[in-house]
Amino acid sequence: MSTALTEVTTQSTGRGRHGTPKVVVGGVIVGVFVVVALFPGLVSSHDPLRQDLLHRLADPTSAHPLGTDALGRDVWSRLVHGTRVDLRVGVLCALLPMVIGTVLGGLSGFYGGILDVVVGRVIELVQSFPVLVFFLAVLGALGLAHPFLFLGPGELPIVLVFAAVGWIVYARLIRGEVMRVRDLEYVQAAGAGGLSPLRVLIRHVLPNAIGQTVVYVVLDVGLAILALATLSYLGLGVPAPVPEWGAMIAESSAYFQAQWWLVVAPGVAITVLGVGLALIGDGIDDLVKRS
């Protein structure tokens, strides 16, 4: 979903000299989340789905570090397991548009002609459509909320919508690079010598474009997680009782007055993960700009 937002954040923070520390710090933050997602048993011991209606809305104790929610489920475990959902969807929502965009952009840049025009027009259309509102509409209409391959319930529509919209930035980037490279003399000579377009793409375009692409992908993961959380909060994302940070906030918002940590904790998780990803993206951007 890299749109103007992503383009704004990739304006360099600072003078590009802080690339490595940013990547390291961001990497550590994100790394923690990834480890937690892969090995939830390491940090939590309760079943996130197990309800205990006798101990609803309990205060934090050593047994329940963040207390229990309205249905008596251990909040900390739900937070931990929520990491898996968000990271899984986030990564997919970032990778799929990247692949689609790269292919379309490459083809469009290489062959030009009517394909280029069509792709350009589609880009214009999708850009002017209020993309995010489109999410809601489509998600409301699509009956595709069932689990699909390795995706949990409610995740497929989100991935599809991201794919439909997010490929643009990658397409533009790759297309630009391809067109720039296509006109270089030695590439034309190579083409005359029988080098296929795919080889051109890999040998000449990718090395230059890969830095920027990685930055976009990283930021997209963060934005996808944010979108998923928001949609789940609204009731259009993952269905209950799947633990997801946005859904958890929605479930507990009625109890915000007393058990405020039920709402604050998942929000902090979203923000911290997002900022960590942004740091990585920004750091890579700095490093790329320097070379």
Binding site: T3, A4, L5, V8, T9, Q11, T13, G14, E124, L125, S128, F129, P130, V131, L132, V133, F134, F135, L136, A137, V138, L139, G140, A141, L142, G143, G222, L223, L226, A229, T230, Y233, L234, G235, L236, G246, I249, S253, F256, Q257, W260, V263, V264, P266, G267, I270, T271, L273, G274, V275, L277, A278, L279, D282
Partner: protein
């Protein structure tokens, strides 16, 4: 001078370009309803309709004909202002839109005003004091603001500002102008907190471009400074890119409005959209999406027109 004619021609062509765009938008919206499995007529009428009623509606809406005919009929109905009726309440969609329009408009306007009021001075201060503490703060806060979930921020503001002070309502739209104002302040501020840093950062960049441009240096070299420099050399030239920056934000603004209407329980188009979407009320979802889509197209068009009015260099392509 031929520039005036050139400019009118440009505006005209932009308007014309909008038509296929709007058509494509309607097509997309139309396709939404086509994607759902099952019989659309049944979905519209709900599970309690009889088979005969479903068949009758199907025929009336042209669902038993080919897709092209259906689309044309859809467009025709659009032209007559018929967007169908809600599957849940039976109320015509246009009526639903009309009933819920006001709070959304208020919220959008309030948010836009607050965002601009905050972002412009912030960007100016950051641009004129580069690498100062404000500049750094702006850069870091724009990243954080990006990833701070809007609805979460809204909830926090409700809990820690509205509830303790009692100044702002925690739900509803209020009565009269004062009531409306009080109810949109907090959500507008929430959304502005998320948008302003990002907007300010873009504005800052375009302001720096202008401040460091050669024509500003040249003007200063003959003694132009102060308010005169600001008004005629800086603002005039920074306004154009600023407008396109702001116009781009409209999509995110609308999304934020939708989310916050739900968070703050304001009865506007946004919360209606979510309710309809959750309740699988296709036609209402479709109708409201169309409204938002058209809004975005119109806003972008207005931004383009404004830019043309401001920048004498723009001509027909």
């Amino acid at each position: 001078m031929s520039s005036s004619r050139g400019r009118f021609a440009f505006v005209g062509s932009r308007l014309l370009q909008c038509v296929p765009l709007l058509l494509a938008v309607t097509l997309l919206v139309f396709l939404i309803s086509k994607v759902t499995p099952g019989n659309p007529a049944r979905t519209i009428l709900g599970p309690k309709a009889t088979a005969d009623q479903v068949a009758a509606l199907s025929h009336q809406l042209g669902y038993d004909r080919g897709p092209v005919v259906q689309y044309l009929r859809f467009l025709a109905r659009l032209g007559h202002g018929d967007l169908g009726a809600s599957a849940r309440t039976g109320q015509p969609v246009t009526g639903v839109i009309r009933d819920n329009l006001a709070p959304t408009v208020w919220l959008v306007a309030a948010t836009a005003l607050v965002t601009i009021a905050v972002a412009v001075p912030l960007a100016w201060a950051a641009a004129t004091h580069r690498d100062g503490w404000l500049d750094h703060l702006l850069r870091t806060s724009s990243v954080v603001a990006l990833f701070l979930p809007t609805f979460w921020l809204g909830l926090i503001l409700i809990r820690f500002v509205a509830l303790p002070t009692g100044w702002f309502p925690v739900a509803g739209f209020g009565h009269g102008v004062a009531g409306h104002l009080r109810s949109v302040v907090l959500p507008a501020v929430t959304l502005a907190l998320g948008l302003a840093p990002v907007v300010a950062r873009s504005l800052r960049t375009s302001m720096i471009d202008v401040l460091e441009s050669e024509y500003v240096v040249a003007a200063r070299s003959v003694g132009v400074r102060g308010a005169r420099l600001f008004r005629w050399y800086v603002v005039r030239n920074a306004l154009s890119p600023a407008i396109s920056l702001l116009a781009v934000q409209i999509g995110f603004l609308l999304f934020g409005v939708v989310v916050l209407e739900v968070t703050f329980d304001i009865p506007g188009l946004g919360s209606e959209l979510v309710t309809a979407a959750v309740g699988k009320d296709l036609l209402v979802t479709q109708g409201i999406t169309l409204v938002f889509a058209v809004t975005v197209v119109v806003v972008n068009l207005l931004a383009d027109v404004l830019q043309i009015a401001l920048d004498p260099r723009v001509r027909t392509s």
